[in-house]
Symmetry: C2
Subunit: 191 residues, 2 copies
DNA sequence: AGGGTTGGCTAATAGGCTTAGCTTATAGCT
DNA sequence: AGCTATAAGCTAAGCCTATTAGCCAACCCT
């Protein structure tokens, strides 16, 4: 009986596909094993537990998202960078809903920290183009992150009716953020 | 052997307490039954399935949150209403993290629809004070909802380090939203 | 008091995660 | 090529959760 030639990366990749196709909740040891043509216990040669698999999946997603953000904003600044980042984020979400869902609620943890830090860093880079006062930077970053993440989460959960104008709303949101941030770029007045 | 005198509402209430104390993920038939001093199968006399219990919990949370928003914004308009709504939302989140988590990702469904519609309606009422152009109203509402929900979600997942200045960031966010919406209140220029 | 309803119970099934221990494919060495 | 040590995948088994079936007694109503 030949071996399947599995690998930690292979297993996580299968989990990622499963998450996107059937939802994060369907990422189970049984279904991942089935997809790989292997018996469930075999997975434990590569991964310690389901929780760890979920963590690894979240790390993978955060890494991919971080790369996408970095690539998309490369060479842009100000409003262009903001729009590029926002669209890249939403593009990743719609293309990989299950992976994105994996990152939600698991922003803690040691390994994921490094990966999600890159996402944050990309957003911070976008903000740099707006020359926000130092005292406001953390607040602005959190606001940006909250807004994009919130839109993504709600859309992911089908909270908006999936009309065509969801796209319009997103563009409106980008515009709203841009104007607000631009206004903050000179007045360094704190709270 | 006397009866426990359970009730659909009682069961959901127990689930809600459990969610807040130990996290939404710990809302399981076993733990709810244990908390009520009852054997697991007994719950099925009141609830059809775990999924339905989760739905009911989400509906309860959405209803409570809707009430809190309505009460908080009563009699206010403009910036005051916005601040009151935002703070009420965050207050509910910190007071009932598990219930709030229950509403995430379950914005679909028939019964929850009515409850969550009241939350949306309260936010729409806040926006009315800003006299947004009709063409922009849906977009503004989605932006507001995304932002508040995103902040709540990230904080709930401990995505920000829980510093004291998370409060400051939230106030900054309110200010940011207020200025942006105020700017939209006259210029009815669409995208 | 008596009778029907129904709430809670025990027993049992199915399915998911996980561990233990076996077997043998496979890589690496000689 | 043959030998050996490692480790990949397997079966068997335990535990836990959700769920169903069927029993029995507590409660409500008259």
């Amino acid at each position: 009986m030949p071996r399947a030639g599995l690998d930690r990366a292979t297993v996580v990749a299968a989990a990622a596909e499963l998450a996107d196709e059937r939802g994060f909740g369907q990422v189970t040891m049984s279904l991942v094993a089935e997809r790989l043509g292997v018996r469930t216990p075999s997975l434990y040669k590569h991964i310690d537990s389901l929780a760890e698999l979920h963590q690894d999946l979240a790390t993978l997603a955060a890494t991919e998202l971080g790369d996408a953000l970095r690539d998309a904003t490369q060479g842009y600044a100000g409003r262009d960078a903001l729009a590029a980042a926002a669209r890249a984020m939403r593009s990743y979400l719609t293309g990989h809903p299950g992976r994105y869902a994996a990152t939600i609620g698991i922003f803690t943890g040691p390994e994921l920290g490094a990966a999600s830090a890159r996402v944050i860093e990309s957003l911070a880079a976008v903000l740099r183009g707006y020359r926000i006062a130092p005292a406001d930077r953390t607040h602005a970053l959190r606001t940006l992150r909250s807004t994009l993440h919130g839109f993504a989460t709600i859309q992911n959960a089908a909270g908006f009716q999936w009309n065509a104008d969801t796209d319009q709303s997103f563009e409106w949101l980008i515009d709203f953020l841009d104007r607000g941030l631009a206004q903050k770029s000179l007045s360094s007045k704190p709270i």
